[in-house]
Symmetry: C2
Subunit: 179 residues, 2 copies
DNA sequence: TCACCTTATGCAACATTTTGCACATTTTAT
DNA sequence: ATAAAATGTGCAAAATGTTGCATAAGGTGA
C-alpha cells in the first residue's frame, strides 16, 4: 500500500488523469517512486472502489476522452494517516552489489563495463537534478514549507547520485579499469 | 529473477540450508538484498525444479534434519549469464521522499521524528559497516579479486549510510527541528 | 501515403514480495 | 518446572509489480 499514496500525493495540488499521472511518475515524483501506466490505471480503479478518489470524464476536442481523478476526504485522511505512520525502510535491492560478490568467479570485464555505464547515467541524472535545483530551489531557506519538502527530496536525489558517482570512481580504480 | 541469483551467489563458497541462507540474508548479503525465510524456501524449491541446485538431506543429532543445497553446473552458468548481463537500475522506492511532498498539507512533526529515527538507524548501521571494514577490509588494494568485490559492496553501504546521515542533518535543520 | 509519435485507457498472465500461520525439536534462561 | 529462544521447514493468501498485448483518434514527417 504505497503506490496509492504516491498517487494521492500527486493529486494534492491538482486533479490528473491516469495518463497525466504516468507522465508525472516519469518525471519529478518518479525520481523516488517509479510506476508504469498499467500499474497506475489498475491502482486508480481500486482507489475509486475504496472511495479514496472521485472521477470525472472530460470530453476533449480532437483527442480521446480522459478521466480526471480527484482526492476525496477519505483519501486525504488515508494519506495523512500514512504520512504520520512510521514506515520501515525498505531494502535497497541493488543487483550491482550482489554481482560484485561474483567478481572472482567469472569474467570481471562486463561488470566493470556496467559500473562505468552506471556512472554515466548518474552523471546525467545529477546534471538534471542540479538544473532543477538551480532554477526552482536555489534558496531553500526562503521557501514555503511544502516546497521545502520537495526541495529535500531533490537534495536526497542529488546526494544519492553524487555518492554513486564517487563510488563508481573508487570501484573502477580498485578494479584496475583506469590502469 | 534476482533472488535466485542472490541465493546462488551465497552458495558459491559453501553449501547451505534454507535456514543458513536466511541467516546470511539477515547479515552480509542481506545488506544489499533482503529476503524472508519464507521467500527463500519457496525460491529454493523452484530452483531445484529448474536444476540450478542439488539438495542433500543431512540428519543431525539433537536438531531437526536440514537440507543442504549446492550449486549445479546449470546453476553456475545461469549465474554467470546474469552477472555478465546488463541489469537496469531499479527505482529506489523510498517512502520518506514521497512523504516529504506532503509536508505542507499535514502535521510535519511526525515526519520530522521519522527523519530523526532514520538518522539513528543509519548511524548504527554505519558503525557496524565500519567495524567490518576495519577488521577485514582495512587495505583493499592488497585483497584478492573476489574480496575486492565484497569490499566494494561494503564501501557502497558505508557511503550510502554516510550520505543519508548527512541528508538527515540538512533536513532536520531546514525543517527547524534544531531551532 | 505510410509509418511513427502522442494522447488516452485498459486486460490478462505472470512473477515477485509480504504477511500470517503451522509444525517439530532442543537448548537456555527464569 | 515452565517459558522462551534457537534450529529447521513449510503452506496459503494477499498485495505488488512486470510484460505483452489491444484499442482508438489525431498529428507529424519522409
Amino acid at each position: 500500500m504505497a503506490l496509492s499514496h504516491a498517487i494521492m500525493t500527486a493529486l494534492l495540488e491538482e486533479n490528473l488523469s491516469g495518463y497525466d499521472l504516468a507522465k508525472k511518475f516519469d518525471m519529478s515524483l518518479g525520481f523516488f517512486w517509479q510506476a508504469s501506466h498499467q500499474q497506475i490505471y489498475q491502482e486508480l480503479k481500486k482507489m475509486l472502489e475504496r472511495g479514496w478518489l472521485s472521477s470525472d470524464t472530460v470530453e476533449q476536442a480532437g483527442k480521446p476522452n480522459k478521466i480526471l481523478y480527484a482526492l476525496t476526504g477519505d483519501g486525504k485522511s488515508a494519506l495523512d494517516d500514512w504520512v504520520v505512520a512510521q514506515t520501515k525502510a525498505r531494502s535497497a535491492k541493488e543487483d550491482l552489489y550482489v554481482k560484485l560478490y561474483n567478481i572472482g568467479h567469472c569474467d570481471p570485464e562486463p561488470l566493470i563495463g556496467e559500473i562505468a555505464d552506471r556512472q554515466l547515467q548518474c552523471q546525467r541524472q545529477l546534471a538534471l537534478y542540479l538544473k532543477i535545483k538551480e532554477r526552482h530551489y536555489a534558496e531553500p531557506e526562503t521557501l514555503p514549507i511544502n516546497r521545502k519538502g520537495i526541495y529535500l527530496a531533490l537534495s536526497a536525489g542529488i546526494r544519492q547520485q553524487q555518492m554513486h558517482i564517487d563510488w563508481c570512481d573508487e570501484a573502477l580504480e580498485l578494479l584496475g579499469a583506469l590502469a
